[in-house]
Structure formats: structure tokens, C-alpha cells
């Protein structure tokens, strides 16, 4: 299914991205809630990068940061570049919907009172959109009469395909899919993911945010593991297929071992809340290899062809 791709420049590159929300505490006290810290990620054309990580690890926020739909109290530092061009809010607004497309999580992202067909074409688009809509509906095996349906009338599988078609119609070269498979059975989930593989094979860059990590291992080219709002490891999907021994970060190993088919062994503790982040390595409170040095800032380093944010990794 996957082909070896030539090494080329990344389409999207996220470097040292931090996102914090300005919050009000009791009374007039204010504080900053750092939900993403020093996150890095890159995707090349023709490639699927899957983002794995538990809820609250900042996966969706990253997607929202790239298209510029974070709430107003959010502050961004670090850089997001598209084809080497720095994406500021203005660029994001110009690029979203045309060069960058988001495939949202659920049917809640469709207007409940608007017919599906009209929503797939989107606003302010002309006749061409109508024609390509017909083609896309055919491609995703969506019946023409579905155009006249309202979102609440769609079944789970139809809804997924409709949401994907909103991204395909835009002809964007970067597609960010936020949890495209929840609630689908294995067959449907595979079918949904296959669509992204096809899109990547057509030369688009795909960022796949997912909870179904074992499926992602099979379909993606590279996997980024998120923990508490940062990237702890970024490695080839093959490494994840081979086993914990091939992985670099203790959290990725733990994640791998927690999968049902790999022993179903969870580790104690929980992901820290953004307001009470530990010093240095964010995983250190749960890490068996923790030392004094882990309280310093931990940089991303290259080990065995992958990147890892751990000083003890070998």
C-alpha cells in the first residue's frame, strides 16, 4: 500500500509551537494555561503523518492552530510554515479552505439546518464546485439524493464521507483530519483511512489525528506521539509495527504496550493538567528512568532515524 517516497521539503512545518490560553481564576486573578508546549511536527507532500496521543494531549488544538481558529484568548509562540512561508493569522485566513483543509471530528461541525449538498460546496463557490461535488460524491459512493439530506439524517459512515468530501472539494494540498474514525467499525474505519491514503498518494500531505493508533500504524508513513501538549517522539510507522523495542521514548513504549494485542498493560499515573505541568520532561512523574537531569529542558534529538524528546533514549 505504501510506496517509498523521495525525500523532499516539508509542506507543513511546525517548530517549537506553544499555545497558551489566558484564563481568569477566582476574582480578578489571571493565569496562562499552557496547553501546547514546544511542539514540533512536519509533513511532506505524499505523506501521512499520524498523531497519536491521549485526549487532552493537544492534538485537536494543533489542528485549530494551523487553520487559525483558536479562541481569542489563545496566544501562540514558535512558528508554523507552509511551503517555507510563515503562516500568520492573515495567511491562515487566506489559505484555509483553499490550500489547507480541515476534516472535522463529527457531524456537529455541519450546520444542522442546512442541506448536505450545499454544505459540501461551501459558501461563495461557483458552478465548478457543483460539478466537482458530483464527481466527489461518486468517488465516495455517496448517493445523489444525500445532497438533499440534513446532517441529522446521515448515518455514521455517510457522515464521515461527507466530511471528507468537504476537504477534497477544496483541492487543498494539506489535509488535516481530526479523528476521522471514532465510532466506526473496523471495516468502515479502514475504508475511511484508505481515502486518506489515496489522497496522500495523489501528492497531498495528510495529518491524521487519531485514537485508532493501531490502524494508523498500518496506513501512515510516520507517527508523532503527543503527550501533555508536546511531541515526545516522531518515528517511522514501521518502528511502531515492530514493537516497543524499536521505539525510543518511554511513553511511546508504554502506549504500545497498552494496546490490547500487545499485552494491554497500562502504566500508573495520568497525564498532567496543563496548569500544573512538571518541570523539564513532562512525562518524568510517570517515568521509570527519571533522574535529576530530567528536570532541565529536554530538546528533541535524533536517534536511529527518529526524533525523541528524552535524554535517556538509546
Amino acid at each position: 500500500m505504501k510506496k517509498e517516497r523521495m525525500e523532499n521539503a516539508p509542506l507543513l512545518k511546525v517548530e517549537d509551537l506553544s499555545v497558551s490560553f489566558h484564563m481568569y481564576d477566582k476574582g480578578l486573578e489571571q493565569y496562562d494555561l499552557k496547553v501546547i508546549s514546544n511542539l514540533s511536527l512536519d509533513v511532506k507532500p505524499g505523506e501521512i503523518v499520524a498523531i497519536a496521543g491521549s485526549s487532552g494531549s493537544g492534538k485537536s488544538l494543533l489542528a485549530h492552530a494551523v487553520v487559525g481558529i483558536l479562541p481569542e484568548n489563545a496566544r501562540l509562540t514558535g512558528s508554523i510554515t507552509y511551503k517555507g512561508e510563515i503562516l500568520d493569522q492573515k495567511k491562515k485566513e487566506a489559505f484555509r479552505g483553499t490550500r489547507i483543509a480541515l476534516v472535522p471530528q463529527s457531524i456537529a461541525y455541519l450546520d444542522p439546518l442546512m442541506k448536505v449538498g450545499k454544505q459540501v460546496t461551501g459558501g461563495d463557490r461557483g458552478k465548478e464546485a457543483e460539478i466537482s461535488k458530483k464527481e466527489i460524491f461518486k468517488r465516495f459512493h455517496l448517493d445523489e439524493k444525500i445532497e438533499k439530506y440534513y446532517p441529522f439524517q446521515l448515518s455514521g459512515g455517510m457522515a464521515r464521507r461527507v466530511l471528507v468530501s468537504t476537504a477534497v472539494i477544496s483541492d487543498a494540498s494539506l489535509i488535516i483530519a481530526d479523528e476521522p474514525t471514532p465510532g466506526l467499525d473496523l471495516e468502515m474505519a479502514l475504508e475511511a483511512l484508505k481515502v486518506f491514503r489515496e489522497l496522500a498518494d495523489e501528492g497531498k500531505a495528510v495529518v491524521l489525528i487519531t485514537h485508532d493508533i493501531d490502524l494508523a500504524f498500518h496506513i501512515a508513513d510516520r507517527i508523532a506521539v503527543f503527550y501533555a501538549g508536546t511531541t515526545v517522539e516522531m518515528a517511522k510507522a514501521e518502528d511502531f509495527l515492530e514493537g516497543a523495542g524499536k521505539l525510543r521514548h518511554p511513553y511511546s513504549k508504554a502506549l504500545w504496550q497498552a494496546l490490547p494485542q500487545n499485552g494491554f498493560r497500562p502504566i500508573p499515573g495520568f497525564q498532567p493538567y496543563a496548569r500544573y505541568l512538571p518541570k523539564g520532561c513532562l512525562f518524568s512523574p510517570r517515568c521509570p528512568h527519571k533522574t535529576k537531569e530530567c528536570e532541565n529542558d529536554i530538546p528533541m534529538s535524533e536517534i536511529r532515524g527518529g526524533y525523541v524528546r528524552c535524554i535517556h533514549a538509546t
Binding site: E93, D111, L113, D124
Partner: protein, 330 residues
């Protein structure tokens, strides 16, 4: 299939209406017969020297000595035949009075209703679009103040300011004094209508605005608006495509659900402005112990409020396909 559905729907509403009217007539008849109102006294009121025997004869003739249930059925029978009796204070058939007064009131209520709906919705949209910013803060305060002002009070203030001090509008009535009815121009009627209509619209204007604002804020923070933004839709396009339709439901609920408040408000507004409509007639009937007119107006107002709620229900279905689906599955 479709015809059958509409037939069923119509039947359902008719059934509801009939049961409502029966219930309202039983309750209001019961209340009136338990009240200390003496229709004979009211009838002979102005005429001096009516002896006790004569009074007893009138009571006998009217059947006032019969048991209440029997009287109710006697009244109900004639109501069914379209005979609501004769008003004691106007000395004319109740139905004629209701018709005549309602036409006058309708102009007032419709003007107030349209005014509060259009302005309320627009102000609500502006507040929602500028959520948390200057215009929103100012308008919200204005709306909250307006919500807490009683109708009759604002009516009196309007009279004092615009009629007495500034002299822009007449003091009351629906037509100028000393002008034959057929010579009253439409402009004169409108001139007389403006202040009472404004007063009456104060009742629901702020409510509609505040509800619309809340809903628009919700919609603008919703996931589908976020997604529309992510697809590159402009703020104006989002408001137009996703905003309007989604925020219409609360406004429709408020507007059509406010028929009862509109009617209640018209009693106050018409009294303050001596406007000869149904509201003024209702309070006159109450004050003057005019039982037939009071019962007639009560039934009519129940019908009026019912129609308002029914229209709201129908419009829900038109606006929201999910509700429409729900109706079909009922």
C-alpha cells in the same frame, strides 16, 4: 401520503382547540358564577325605583335561579349557535362588539408586534455580532432596563413627554375628536396609533433582543461556525449562511408565544391611552360586571393565544427539519 399527513395535522390542532375552548369556558363560567357580580343589579343599575319583585322576575326570566350546570349548558348552547348574548354596558350583541373592537386592537397589536419583532431581532443580531464589545455592552444594558419597565408606566411617561411636553402626538383615542368617522384619514389613525404601539412593543422587544443575542453568541461559538471559518468563509457569509436560520427559532418562539402578553399588555396600554380596543373593552366589562361580554372576550382571547402558539409550532417545522421530522413521527 402528504395530504393525509396534513389532514392529520389539521385534525390534531382542531381537536386541541376545541378541548381548550371547552376547558376555558367551563373555568371562566365557574369563576363568574362564584363571583359577587350581580347581573340584575348591573342591568337595572341606572334605572331608579325597581322593586324587589321586579328584580326577582328579571332573575327568573334570565334563569338565574337555575342550578349552575343547567345555566352553563343553556349558555353553551347559544354560544354554539353563535349567540354570545347582549352586552350589558354597550347594549349590543357581544359578537359585534368583539369584532369591532378587535379590528381597532388588531392595528395596534400588529404594529406593536411587528415593531418589537423586527427591531428586537435586529438589535439582538447586532449585540450578538459584537459580543463583549462596546455596542453589545451598551445595548444589553438598555435591554435589561427596558425588560424591567412596566407597560403602563412607560405609557404614562410617553404621554407626559411626547404628548404633553412636546405635543408631537395626541393624548389618546384612536381618532381625533369632533371629526366624523368617515372623514378620519389614515394618517390621523396612524398618528394616534404610534404611542400606544410603541408602549405595547416595549413589552417583548427587549426579550426578543436578549434571546436572539444569546442564541447568536451560541451559534457563533458553535463547532459548525468554527468549521465554516476553517473552510475560509468570511464573517459576513457565516452570519448570512449559518447565523440567521439558526437564531430564528428563539425569536419565533418569543414572538408567537407573546400573543398572550400582547393581549394582556393591550389591556394596560389601551387604558392608559383611552384607545377603544378589545383590551379597553375587556377591562370595562370587568369593571362594569358585564358578564356576557367578559365571557365572550375571554373565549376570544383564548382562541387568539392558541392561534399564536399554533403558528409558532408550524413555523418551527418550516425552519428546522429536525422538528419537522419529529412532527411526522408523532
Amino acid at each position: 401520503m402528504k395530504n393525509k399527513y396534513y389532514l392529520k395535522l389539521t385534525g390534531k390542532y382542531l381537536l386541541r382547540m376545541v378541548t381548550l375552548l371547552i376547558a376555558v369556558s367551563i373555568i371562566s363560567f365557574l369563576l363568574v358564577s362564584m363571583s359577587p357580580v350581580d347581573p340584575v343589579q348591573q342591568y337595572v343599575g341606572a334605572v331608579p325605583n325597581v322593586s324587589m319583585e321586579q328584580r326577582a322576575k328579571i332573575a327568573e326570566y334570565w334563569g338565574l335561579n337555575d342550578p349552575p350546570v343547567e345555566r352553563f349548558f343553556a349558555w353553551g348552547r347559544s354560544v354554539l349557535q353563535g349567540d354570545f348574548g347582549v352586552s350589558l354596558i354597550y347594549r349590543r350583541p357581544v359578537l359585534d362588539i368583539i369584532k369591532e373592537k378587535f379590528v381597532t386592537s388588531l392595528a395596534l397589536m400588529a404594529a406593536a408586534w411587528l415593531f418589537s419583532g423586527i427591531i428586537g431581532f435586529t438589535v439582538g443580531c447586532v449585540m450578538g455580532a459584537f459580543h463583549g464589545k462596546g455596542p453589545d455592552k451598551v445595548l444589553k444594558k438598555v435591554c435589561l432596563i427596558m425588560c424591567s419597565i412596566p407597560t403602563f408606566w412607560i405609557g404614562i411617561v410617553f404621554l407626559m413627554v411626547f404628548s404633553v411636553k412636546l405635543g408631537w402626538f395626541p393624548m389618546g383615542m384612536s381618532v381625533p375628536k369632533g371629526v366624523p368617522t368617515d372623514q378620519v384619514t389614515i394618517l390621523q389613525r396612524i398618528h394616534h396609533l404610534i404611542l400606544p404601539a410603541l408602549t405595547l412593543s416595549f413589552l417583548s422587544f427587549a426579550n426578543v433582543a436578549l434571546h436572539t443575542r444569546e442564541k447568536l453568541v451560541d451559534v457563533l461559538e458553535s463547532e459548525y461556525v468554527m468549521f465554516a471559518k476553517a473552510r475560509g468563509e468570511s464573517k459576513w457569509s457565516i452570519l448570512k449562511r449559518h447565523g440567521l436560520r439558526n437564531i430564528m427559532l428563539p425569536a419565533v418562539t418569543m414572538q408567537f408565544g407573546s400573543f398572550s402578553e400582547l393581549f394582556g399588555g393591550s389591556v394596560l396600554a389601551e387604558n392608559v391611552f383611552s384607545y377603544p380596543g378589545l383590551g379597553a373593552a375587556a377591562s370595562a366589562a370587568g369593571m362594569g360586571s358585564d358578564v356576557p361580554l367578559l365571557l365572550g372576550i375571554t373565549l376570544f382571547s383564548a382562541l387568539f393565544v392558541f392561534v399564536g402558539n399554533m403558528l409558532a409550532n408550524i413555523i418551527y417545522g418550516v425552519v428546522d427539519p429536525q422538528i419537522r421530522e419529529g412532527y411526522r413521527n408523532e
